[in-house]
Symmetry: C2
Subunit: 444 residues, 2 copies
């Protein structure tokens, strides 16, 4: 690892580019300027594009007719560092310990996007030019929902025309195991409010004569699943595409122990999920109905003998191919209406939703990515899906009409979003090699 | 109504004797001193008894051998007046409107206890002495749980020896309908916490592989009742004494429309309760299991896609003769343990409990009370139970060994604990007549 690479990494990490807190706005702009300078310094045409939120950094090499065009996406904003007292060292003063750099944003996403920048730097130094027409798009609002990115892509759709997108903002299933994520779950939100009396009532004076909305809500929510963990909404699974054989086999052979790791990471007393599926299948390829929050009545210390006026729950459904968010929300609403206990009313408010994502890892670009990963890590490539949702991937598909290669460099213990976030220098190095290899392979 | 009675009422109401707020401590003591002065002024031996909380006012006439002893209980503390903006006139500046006095404490409990004081005053004025040995016990902590009263009763057990207790702190079922409450429900509290993962998890990354504690809690709470509103805990009804025939008949003949009034008062979309019982039976004579509060995960605006680490619920059971609080809590705990869904753990914390109360309205003192009510109101007496719990009644039974006559003067629209609390002068007058009659009847 060159000393200058480490210096770049530390400089990048020292910006407290916390997008969730408006007080840091100036720091985000400083960080974006640093990126423009860095990208210009390695020979790209870099610019800072203002948005209603934080600026987008856009850098290109000299494009030439007839070459493949690749868009590498990343973000320079980071999560807040709180709670500060749980950090072993200050979050914006990077330190190296046992080969790991500790700082907020080390993994998510500064280390990962920087490895691409440094890979491009090395290629240009060694060969004077890149094998592809390249775009770097590095935004400052990923941690707050990428609100300005869609508009930016729309406005620059023609200039951004490309063959594929490369994103390193996902995980590796284990150290030194190169990982290509080819699928993501979608999400659809629904909020429920069950109302009974017009105000909280004295549970002694009125209890027994009117329905308790918290009880009614519990009874209603209990109808969402059967005893074996299946979602009990009629039609919920109708469009779910079965896992392909090669996927099931590939996942069984992954060099990890998902059940053991899931228990250790979550601290749950036992695993539980839809009957008939493995842990990886449950989180990567099966839809869910989760209660994200529930509330009603008195939640303070001690006892307050109220019969609550209302109780509410926030639900999200994770969706998989080929489910449709609108359809699932409609089925859920129908189910809830049908199962509403007597004596209460129900309000339903559909919230945000984002589609699932699935691409074929065996197509031309997927194969190129696999060759690059194999070359960079000198190990067999894990082909996985992920359980979360990455809305920008759908933006790239819907606005630019291209698929995304998710080549994650985050390790299971990287503590993204948590205190003591870290990134191994080994992965910065591997990321540099991966960038060089993937641009080369995609050029073919 | 004498002008001086109204002046006394206004003076009493002007003290902001809010026991829930420590800033008002001085005002409570001032109010207690005013009572001592008033009670001394009418010829009783009155004293202010300090407690670790607010003082107890204790007043006695000259006791004589061979007479019945009666203890009249009331309280001079009041609920906070908030929210102030909902009052039509300042809560501690009493005003008379259409025969009703509006002020915090007008009904609960200053108007009611004052009618007893004024009744005693008139009897002494007219006859120079009372027909019974009398104790007034007027405390200042009723709205905060009567924490000092039990100790006061214990310490003065011998001096307070009496035949019966009279309390006017309950309701009349309708205007001009004298009401004797002979039963109260008990209460037993149980808090539940269902825990899954050791911290909130990302519902995309983990959802599907571990149990969701909010879902598990909902499923658990849904087992507490059957679809017809019965509590589904095995053994829950085993000790419930059936309603006596005379009660069922008496309640059916009450000059009220309980269902219509319950709907109007609560604003609930429909009534709902245990199958096979009327509204009055459900709230006065049947036990319940109510969720007073439920909470877990994200309850703020919008969506946060967490799989909560835990979810909790606060339960109280209302108990009726001959249920035992400890036994019900044990049965509930057994039920919850048995019905706990997989993948989570359950913590149970039993809270406070208080026994139900039931006395025979047809015994000697009950009959005396009925004659007095009939005489004071010149109307047929309603014999009812109430759904709430009044712990001091059990204190009187357990410490002094006597039953309590609940001769309430509160009207359904009195708005105790709410803005625009009020008490009709008609009831102050009737209360004075009732006091005179009840002491006379109890003396026999």
């Amino acid at each position: 690892m060159r000393a200058s690479h480490l210096e770049d990494f530390y400089s990048f990490l020292r910006f407290p580019s916390v997008s969730t807190d408006e007080n840091y706005s100036g720091k985000l702009t400083e960080c974006a300027h640093w990126l423009v300078e860095k990208l210009s310094g390695i020979g790209l045409r870099a610019e800072l594009v203002p948005t209603p939120g934080h600026p987008v950094v856009w850098a290109r090499n000299q494009h030439r007719e007839g070459r493949r065009a690749v868009l590498i996406y990343g973000h320079y904003d980071v999560q807040p560092p709180d709670p500060l007292e749980l950090w072993d060292s200050p979050p914006f003063e990077p330190v190296l310990k046992d080969g790991y750099v500790f700082a907020r944003g080390a993994t998510d996403n500064k280390g990962q996007i920087l490895s691409h920048i440094l890979g491009v730097q090395e290629t240009i130094e060694q060969r004077r030019e890149l094998p592809v027409n390249l775009h770097f798009i590095i935004e400052g609002e990923e941690e707050i929902g990428s609100g300005s990115l869609g508009n930016f892509l729309h406005q620059n759709r023609d200039a951004l025309k490309c063959d594929t997108v490369v994103v390193s903002d996902t995980g590796m299933i284990a150290p030194r195991t190169p990982t290509l994520s080819y699928g993501l779950r979608g999400v659809a939100a629904l909020e429920l409010k069950v109302t009974g009396p017009k105000m909280d009532l004295h549970s002694g004076i009125y209890g027994g004569a009117v329905a308790n909305p918290a009880t009614a809500l519990a009874q209603l929510l209990a109808t969402l699943h059967d005893r074996e963990g299946r979602v009990a909404i009629a039609g919920f699974y109708d469009r779910v595409a079965p896992l392909e054989d090669w996927e099931r086999k590939a996942w069984q052979k992954l060099p990890i122990s998902p059940d053991k790791e899931m228990l250790r990471e979550t601290g749950a007393p036992a695993l539980f999920g839809e009957a008939g599926f493995s842990t990886l299948e449950r989180i990567w390829a099966r839809p869910t109905a989760e209660i994200n929050g529930i509330g009603g009545g008195y939640q303070g210390r001690g006892t307050k003998t109220v019969l609550p006026s209302y109780a509410m729950a926030k639900l999200t459904f994770r969706l998989v191919p080929d489910q449709k968010a609108d359809e699932i929300i409609a089925l859920a609403e129908k189910h809830l209406k049908k199962n509403l206990p007597p004596g209460v009313t129900l309000e339903k408010t559909a919230g945000h939703h984002g589609p699932w994502y699935l691409t074929d890892p065996h197509n031309r670009f997927g194969q190129a990515a696999q060759r690059a990963l194999q070359k960079a890590f000198n190990a067999e490539v894990a082909l996985i899906r992920e359980g979360g949702s990455i809305p920008i991937v759908s933006d790239f598909r819907n606005i630019l009409g291209v698929e995304t290669l998710l080549l994650g460099l985050a390790l299971p213990g990287c503590r993204a979003h948590s205190p003591n976030e870290n990134f191994p220098l080994e992965n910065l190095d591997a990321g540099i090699r991966m960038n060089k290899a993937v641009l080369e392979e995609l050029a073919v």
